[in-house]
């Protein structure tokens, strides 16, 4: 009984969460709810197709077409029958509608009119669209053009530097209005993320949990346990999606603050240290007893689920760059249902390899022994590396270099410990490679750390090549040259000044909490070639750190979602749209955009 009441409350709560963003924005315009697209069919007939939002419907008999003032014969499909007390049964379309017009001329302006309502909520006046028969472009009857496939929440893709899964960043641009397509994209996204070092730590956690129920672990049981782990993890992401849609753009901002990044890195270090065996991460005794009532079985479904949920929260932030892109997209569309289910799909994708491991690996996993301890130690090392990598976005260069130095030296020492743990100083041939590696790491680490002390950063080259640290161009302190503004009046004045001098203008939307901006400033904007090309331009930095009304007004002026965004204005002060840069990008790409700005 109590369970039923709790269930009801949770359902209400979740439903209320979903209603909030939808309601707060007011009703959707008819254009958004009924989306018309036009194609030419096989027999040269004009095919009209409407995508209709759930909860809305179109009237069959209200769909009409005309050309040059004369009505055209339009064939429509059968619709769902709705009982209108006046007319009797009326046909309406839900989800989608289609119609065709035969024998259309090759040129001309065809007008299509349609009308619909939202169930029990609102009825729209008739909508008329004009179709250019030559190009099949659909526009308002007043002449406003909308491009096919323009979805309101599409976020421009940004190729990111330094992440281990660059393909994931590009995927963000492929998210369009089709729901299923979005889900599949996020699923693939998650699958790609599963192969980043960030999700590596989940392997020993999962296998540790599985092997604790050693002896009774059949593939079926392994599947069930890992399934509950993966589902709980995906659920955690789903909740994150709800919050993303709810809080909107502020989420990206808060994820990038130095405080958030530091906290996440700290969590990774804590997890890493547990891998090394300094302590065991366990649930408190009370919870332990409640979840594992059967004292004999140490692997319960609820325990697995809890572990999955926790790992999502710990590991999730590591994949911040691509995840933030996804979250921003969701925040923009504001659609909570889509947002949470898309992120749920992401979590599922991330967990699929784990599921396979849990099911099939279960039979192959030996009991807890040296193998598992080794895996845990390796993942501990990787975790610390990931923590350093995350911190490198906000730390100064000397600290980064010395951290990597210590890390390398530490790894070398650890390797030495493994190789020579036998007290007998007997040298086997097979110990040679590990000994060599150990020495190599230690020497490299010393070079890095020592170099950092002396301001010599060349040892960072291999790391820069692997895109783990920023490239060489940024290892020197440089003059920035950007004029900083925080409100609209100053921004206008600065732009006007640039125009008066006949210069092009670059406006850099940036914030102190935006780690991506820092990255851009240190890598792309500090590059010698880029500086050369920017020399002739008026450089303005719009600082939106405070995120108050003034910041929002300057962002709205240029339709900027959030930093980092770089906008180029031509000599007349108009934006060169091709050159706009959202998110981080590489030097080559940015140089191409400067070229585009110089053309525009």
């Amino acid at each position: 009984m109590a369970y039923a009441r709790a269930f009801r409350f949770v359902t209400m709560f979740l439903l209320a969460l979903w209603l909030v963003p939808a309601g707060a924005a007011g009703p959707k315009p008819a254009d958004q709810v009924f989306r018309l697209s036009v194609t030419l069919g096989e027999d040269e007939e004009l095919d009209l197709n409407w995508a209709i939002d759930p909860g809305y419907y179109l009237y069959r008999e209200k769909i009409t077409a005309s050309l040059a003032g004369k009505p055209l014969k339009l064939t429509t499909e059968r619709g769902d029958v709705k009982d209108d007390p006046n007319f009797g049964p009326t046909e309406v379309y839900h989800h989608e509608a289609s119609a065709y017009i035969e024998a259309v001329p090759a040129k001309g302006r065809l007008l299509v009119t349609f009308q619909g309502c939202g169930e029990n909520t609102i009825c729209y006046p008739p909508v008329t669209k004009a179709i250019d028969l030559e190009t099949l472009a659909v526009s308002d009857a007043t002449g406003k053009v909308e491009r096919a496939g323009d979805s309101p929440g599409a976020v421009e893709a940004s190729s990111s530097i330094g992440t281990a899964a660059p393909a994931a960043g590009g995927d963000a641009s492929g998210l369009d209005s089709s729901y299923v397509y979005t889900l599949l994209t996020f699923l693939g996204f998650g699958l790609l993320l599963a192969f980043t070092p960030c999700t590596f730590p989940m392997l020993p956690i999962l296998s540790g949990m599985l092997t604790r129920s050693a002896g009774r672990l059949s593939p079926a049981r392994g599947f069930v346990l890992s399934a509950s782990y993966v589902l709980a993890m995906a659920g955690a992401y789903g909740v994150l999606g709800i919050f993303a849609a709810w809080f909107g753009g502020n989420l990206q901002a808060s994820l990038q603050t130095p405080l958030a990044v530091t906290l996440m890195s700290a969590m990774f270090v804590v997890l890493a240290l547990s891998m090394f065996g300094f302590y065991e991460l366990q649930l408190p005794q009370s919870l332990n007893a409640r979840l594992l009532p059967d004292s004999g079985r140490s692997g319960s479904i609820a325990g697995a689920a809890l572990l999955g949920f926790a790992s999502a929260l710990v590991v999730g932030p590591c994949v911040t760059p691509p995840l933030a892109a996804a979250l921003v997209y969701i925040a923009q569309t504001g659609n909570t249902l889509r947002g949470s289910s898309a992120l749920f799909a992401l979590g599922l994708g991330m967990g699929l390899p784990l599921l396979l491991l849990g099911t099939f690996g279960a039979t192959m996993l030996p009991k807890s022994g040296p193998w598992l301890i080794r895996v845990k130690q390796v993942s501990g090392v990787v975790l610390i590396g990931v923590a350093i990598w995350m911190m490198s976005r906000i730390l100064a260069l000397p600290l980064i270099a010395s951290s990597w130095g210590l890390f390398a030296a530490g790894t070398g020492a650890w390797l030495a410990m493994i190789a020579f743990k036998r007290s007998k100083p007997v040298w086997h041939l097979r110990q040679l490679p590990i000994a060599a590696a150990s020495c190599g790491f230690v020497i490299y680490g010393l070079l890095l750390a020592g170099g950092a002390l002396g301001g010599w950063y060349e040892p960072l080259q291999p790391l820069a090549w692997a895109a783990i640290v920023p490239p060489p161009g940024t290892w020197h302190e440089g003059e920035d040259g950007f004029q900083i503004v925080t409100n609209e009046a100053d921004l206008d004045a600065a732009i006007a000044a640039g125009r008066a001098e006949g210069r092009r203008t670059l406006v850099d939307f940036s914030a102190s909490w935006c780690t991506e901006c820092r990255l851009m400033e240190r890598t792309v904007l500090a590059d010698e070639n880029v500086r050369l090309r920017l020399d002739s331009m008026q450089l303005i930095r719009a600082d939106v750190t405070r995120n108050d009304a003034q910041s929002r007004s300057i962002m709205q002026r240029f339709a900027v979602v959030g930093p980092p965004t770089l906008i180029f204005l031509n000599r007349e002060g108009k934006e060169v749209e091709d050159a706009r840069t959202v998110g981080t990008t590489a030097v080559d790409d940015f140089l191409a955009r400067i070229a585009a700005a110089e053309r525009g």
């Binding site: 007011g26 009308q115 029990n120 009825c123 006046p125």
Partner: protein
């Protein structure tokens, strides 16, 4: 158990949804020449409820809008129960041609003091595709002087047309997407509400006004 669950849930959801759908309205007077005086103090709009009420509701509706008719029942009941709401009727014929016919009939009846009779008669025809004949038939059945109605229709055609045009302009200026639309005090609600929904909006509007 499941029946009561669904009814309670529905009511709570409806009330919740109504609350969540409040948007503050700013009549952009400078740009659209629409002022709040125009909206609230137009001498030719029909008034219902309590003309000296402390809260004003402006109702934008169409005689071919099925959801307007459903929510009108709830709105009228609330206005009657509450007793302190001033209700301004703004005929907003946007859905189809016969909508304009209905609006003209109702507004013409105002000249003989019978607007509400015709209004309720027309709103009483359920559904959406009302024909001109059905509307006239409904008007005939209400307690009205038909020859006088005809005369008023012809004689005041300009004034009626002017008012309808004003209603269209105002609705567009405040950004209504479709029917029904309500201005409850400072709040704009652009969808059909249940009785509880209206209650919540009215309560919120009054709280807002007290501040």
């Amino acid at each position: 158990m499941s029946d009561s669950l669904s009814r309670n849930t529905f009511l709570r959801l409806a009330g919740g949804a109504a609350m969540l759908l409040l948007t503050k309205t700013f009549a952009r007077s400078a740009e659209n020449e629409v002022t709040s005086e125009m909206i609230l103090a137009d001498p030719e709009t029909p008034i219902g409820g309590n003309p000296n009420g402390d809260l004003t509701i402006v109702d934008f509706f169409d005689y071919n809008c099925p959801f307007c008719k459903k929510s009108a029942v709830h709105l009228e009941r609330l206005v009657k129960t509450d007793g302190k709401i001033k209700l301004i009727y703004r005929d907003w014929p946007i859905l189809t041609e016969t909508s304009i016919v209905g609006a003209q009939l109702a507004l013409a009846a105002r000249y003989q003091g019978k607007y509400l009779d015709v209004h309720h008669a027309l709103m009483g025809i359920p559904g959406y595709g009302i024909s001109r004949e059905q509307m006239i038939d409904a008007v005939r059945k209400s307690n009205i002087d038909l020859p006088r109605l005809d005369a008023d229709l012809q004689g005041n055609a300009d004034a009626i047309r002017g008012l309808i045009k004003r209603n269209l302009t105002i609705a567009e200026a405040i950004g209504l997407q479709g029917t029904p639309g309500f201005l409850v005090g400072p709040y704009k609600v652009n969808e059909a509400l249940t009785y509880e929904g209206f209650q919540h909006v009215v309560a919120d509007a009054r709280t807002r006004q007290r501040k």
